[in-house]
């Protein structure tokens, strides 16, 4: 093989590989956006999800993306952990997934399925998994991730809720580790469409 072809091939490999690996990393490194807690549209949209017929208490919305491994891990946690009795919870599932839906309902969770576009448009949410907590007055007290570290095994949903309820003035922020849901965010983080 002529040496120039070898060099050209190697250079092409080097460039494509570097860019490709770079795009893969972006998805892991990029700080996933969280909605603003005082977003009125988000507040009203979440309020609408609150089940009717019950006294208003603390309300948690789990935004989970069926194509996102992190979201699936959170779902597994929700299904296997003991949930507080006085907590109302809804799974806002992005994209339909019958098996997940069935499991969620079997575990006692209300499930609302939305499209990525609707999630972004109605809830201003572009990434998952994300937990949003509303107090009895429907004020958003928390909007963030489930773990302190990326892919962390310690899912702190219960602990976060307990802290919010016990310490009224306390604010908690956990980073959002997971997947881009909106097409806009996905096109930024994965321009080569290697991940999404």
């Amino acid at each position: 093989m002529p040496s120039w072809i070898v060099r050209l091939t190697f250079a092409a490999w080097l460039g494509v590989s570097t860019i490709g690996a770079g795009t893969l990393m972006v998805g892991h490194w990029y700080t996933l956006p969280k909605p603003a807690a005082d977003d009125a549209q988000l507040g009203s949209a979440l309020e609408a999800l609150r089940p009717a017929g019950r006294d208003r208490g603390w309300f948690a919305v789990h935004v989970l993306y069926s194509s996102c491994p992190c979201s699936v891990r959170v779902l597994d946690h929700l299904f296997s952990s003991e949930r507080p009795d006085d907590l109302e919870e809804v799974v806002l599932l992005v994209e339909e997934d019958d098996a997940l839906e069935a499991r969620a309902r079997a575990a006692g969770f209300a499930v609302v399925v939305v499209t990525p576009e609707a999630l972004a448009a109605d809830y201003r949410i572009e990434a998952a998994p994300m937990m949003v907590v509303l107090d009895p007055s429907d004020r958003i007290r928390y909007a963030g991730g489930y773990t302190e570290r990326k892919q962390g095994a310690d899912i702190r949903d219960i602990a976060t809720l307990r802290t919010l309820r016990d310490e009224a003035a306390r604010t908690i922020e956990l980073p959002l580790f997971g997947c881009a849901v909106s097409f806009e965010l996905q096109s930024i983080l994965d321009p080569l469409k290697l991940k999404y």
Binding site: W13, S17, P69
Partner: protein, 665 residues
């Protein structure tokens, strides 16, 4: 500083065979290592639900680079460098496919691979990997500035993250370079050292090829080292000789034999090696060359006295010896000149007598060996008296050869004597002016006496006899000449300050007629100093004063002319004379027998022979010379009291011959 860093990171351009082989092996292992990532990554993707097919595709794509490099790159180092890039890309894939609880831990792959890259022994591989990562981060930062600040991490967290990578890269570069310099580059180091050694050996070879001395070394077993100076090969050849004896055997067999004997002592190692080497022969004589041989023990460990071999240094001293010989001969000539100025007649007489003796010896005319030995011995003694060592030394060499080998003097030794004499004559011709010996010296008294007789009209016969007396020599002059030799012989024998008393009693004699007698008489004198007088220590122990006393006199006693030599030495051991005489088969019945035995050829009371005496030749020569002028020799000696030799001649022996006889002569 940057240039030093660059020089440290960039390896020398030369790739040794060892490095090429090593990198070929490591690159092959590295390639298989990366290929093995494919199934692993598929499994990782499968268990983390991150897409096994995607893992197959992406990992295979990343493998294109190293496979391409391995198959096509000529430089093994470039292949390794491509592995630096590959390692970081694989790390990226692993982090991607390892999304799950251990995703953070997957980042350790980068640090592990950075360290593993050190095995290529090339800092450039690590730098390339680190640059790949840095470039990666830079591109991402340009694309999405917040991406590098992982999940809103502050700048110092990013700095710490980068610092660890830099720290490990620097450390790994150091390890890789050290690995290259000390292991992979070992061959180069060896080559460099070998080249330096070759250069040194070459310099040493040039030195050995040009030095005029012979240098060679022997190990403890006496084996010759291959390296030696060219002079050794030039002199002896024998490049395949096993030891020094073999080397010189053909040219100097005597040296070879003596050296082997000496080396046996060295190998026995009973004495310090220096002492044993002192016994080794120090001169090699072959062809017309003389070599001085010096031995120096060598030690490979300066901290111990143990020797590992011997350095042999051969110096050609032929020119030096010739120069010394010429200097010696020059000194001899000066000494002779001094003697001529002091006693010209005496020297001329010796010269004429020596010329005759030389002729007899060189022509090998004398058939009777005892007579020949006497001539040689007499010539030796008189030459020594006049300080002509070139003659006395050669006479001594002939005597030694006759003693050891028997037979007659070899032509070589006779030729050597003849040449020495010829060189002496050439020098003396200038001093003596050719016909000097035929001149007559007249002192003022003698001249006035004859003048007076002429003016007083004395009888012609009386005037003629007075003039004949001009040719006569006072015997005291002879005695004084001999006396001066006593001190010289004494000095040589460590018997300084011998008191010599001379008394001629106003007698005169025909110098020419008595020349052979006085020529031989020196033997009595040498015997008296050497045998008769004790050493100073012995004399002191015996209660004797001084270094000894010798009296020389000529005297008329009755109708006899007496020449007497008396010493106060140890006296003659007649018992020993009797023993020696018995061994020679001579009668020892009475004193006369013993006296006769004493003057017999070959009898000496000494067991050892010196350059001065001890051969039993001298007294026989005197005895014969005495009888030749009509005399008899007798001896009177007492143990511890001294010895007196008396030569008796009839008064007629001193009588002045008729003037006509001189005219006829």
């Amino acid at each position: 500083m940057w240039s030093r860093i660059a020089a440290y990171v960039r390896l020398p351009s030369e790739v040794t065979d060892f490095e090429r082989q090593y990198l070929a092996r490591m690159n092959r292992i590295g390639l298989w290592f990366f290929v093995a990532h494919l199934p692993v990554f598929v499994l990782v993707a499968f268990f983390n639900d991150t897409g096994p097919l995607s893992a197959v595709a992406l990992t295979s794509f990343v493998l294109v680079g190293p496979v391409l490099a391995y198959k096509t790159f000529k430089s093994p180092r470039l292949v390794s460098v491509s592995y630096g890039v590959t390692a970081m890309l694989m790390g990226g894939l692993l982090v991607h496919f390892g999304q799950g609880p251990v995703q953070i831990e997957m980042h350790f792959y980068f640090f592990a691979l950075l360290a593993m890259l050190a095995m290529f022994g090339n800092p450039m591989v690590i730098v390339t990997a680190a640059v790949t990562v840095a470039l990666h981060h830079l591109l991402l930062w340009l694309y999405l500035p917040t991406s590098v600040f992982n999940y809103d991490a502050p700048i110092w967290v990013v700095a710490i993250h980068a610092a660890f990578v830099v720290l490990e890269s620097v450390a790994t570069c150091f390890i890789a370079r050290s690995f290259f310099d000390n292991v992979i580059g070992l061959e180069k180091i060896v080559q460099s050292r070998t080249a330096a050694l070759d250069k040194r050996n070459q310099d040493m070879r040039v030195l050995l090829d040009n030095v005029q001395q012979g240098f060679l070394t022997l190990d403890r077993s006496g084996a010759l080292a291959a390296e030696r100076s060219a002079a050794v090969s030039r002199w002896f050849g024998g490049d395949d000789a096993a030891d020094l004896g073999d080397l010189v055997e053909a040219k100097a067999p005597a040296f070879a034999e003596n050296f082997r004997v000496a080396w046996e002592q060295v190998e026995e190692d009973l004495l310090p090696v220096e002492c044993n080497l002192d016994l080794a022969p120090s001169r090699i004589e072959f062809e017309d060359r003389t070599l001085q041989v010096d031995y120096q023990p060598m030690s490979s460990d300066a901290s111990t006295d143990d020797w590992s071999g011997v350095l042999v240094v051969m110096s050609d001293i032929t020119s030096q010896l010739e120069h010394e010989r010429l200097e010696s001969e020059q000194r001899e000539v000066l000494y002779i000149l001094d003697r001529i100025l002091k006693d010209k007649a005496g020297f001329l007489e010796f010269f004429e007598e020596a010329k005759r003796q030389i002729q007899l010896i060189v022509s090998d005319e004398i058939e009777q060996m005892p007579l020949l030995k006497r001539v040689i011995h007499t010539l030796k003694g008189n030459a020594a008296v006049f300080g002509i060592h070139r003659i006395s030394d050669r006479c001594h060499a002939i005597e030694e050869a006759l003693k050891e080998e028997g037979g007659r003097p070899s032509a070589e030794l006779r030729e050597s004597l003849a040449q020495a004499w010829d060189r002496l004559c050439e020098s003396l011709d200038v001093l003596l002016g050719g016909e000097e010996s035929s001149k007559i010296e007249v002192d003022d008294d003698q001249f006035k006496n004859v003048l007076r007789e002429v003016l007083e009209n004395a009888p012609r016969e009386q005037i003629a006899e007075s003039m004949v007396a001009w040719k006569l020599e006072p015997t005291v002059r002879r005695l004084e000449r001999l006396a001066s030799q006593v001190h010289r012989i004494g000095a040589r024998l460590d018997k300084q300050n011998i008191a010599v008393e001379v008394d001629g009693h106003g007698l005169r004699q025909d110098a020419e007629a008595w020349a052979p007698f006085w020529s031989s008489y020196i033997h009595l004198l040498r015997n008296a100093v050497d045998h008769g007088l004790e050493s100073i220590e012995e004399r002191r122990a015996l209660g004797k004063e001084g270094s000894g006393h010798i009296r020389l006199e000529t005297v008329m006693e009755g109708d006899e002319f007496i020449v007497r030599l008396t010493d106060d030495g140890r006296g003659i051991d007649w018992t020993r004379v009797a023993e020696k005489a018995t061994r020679l088969g001579l009668p020892t019945e009475d004193r006369d027998d013993l006296v006769r035995a004493l003057f017999h050829d070959g009898l000496s009371t000494r067991d050892d022979v010196t350059s001065t005496s001890g051969r039993g030749v001298g007294l026989a020569a005197v005895h014969e010379a005495c009888e030749a002028v009509g005399g008899q020799i007798d001896v009177d000696s007492k143990i511890g009291a001294g010895t007196t030799f008396v030569c008796r001649f009839p008064s007629s022996a001193l009588a002045v011959k008729h003037p006509e006889v001189f005219l006829a002569a």
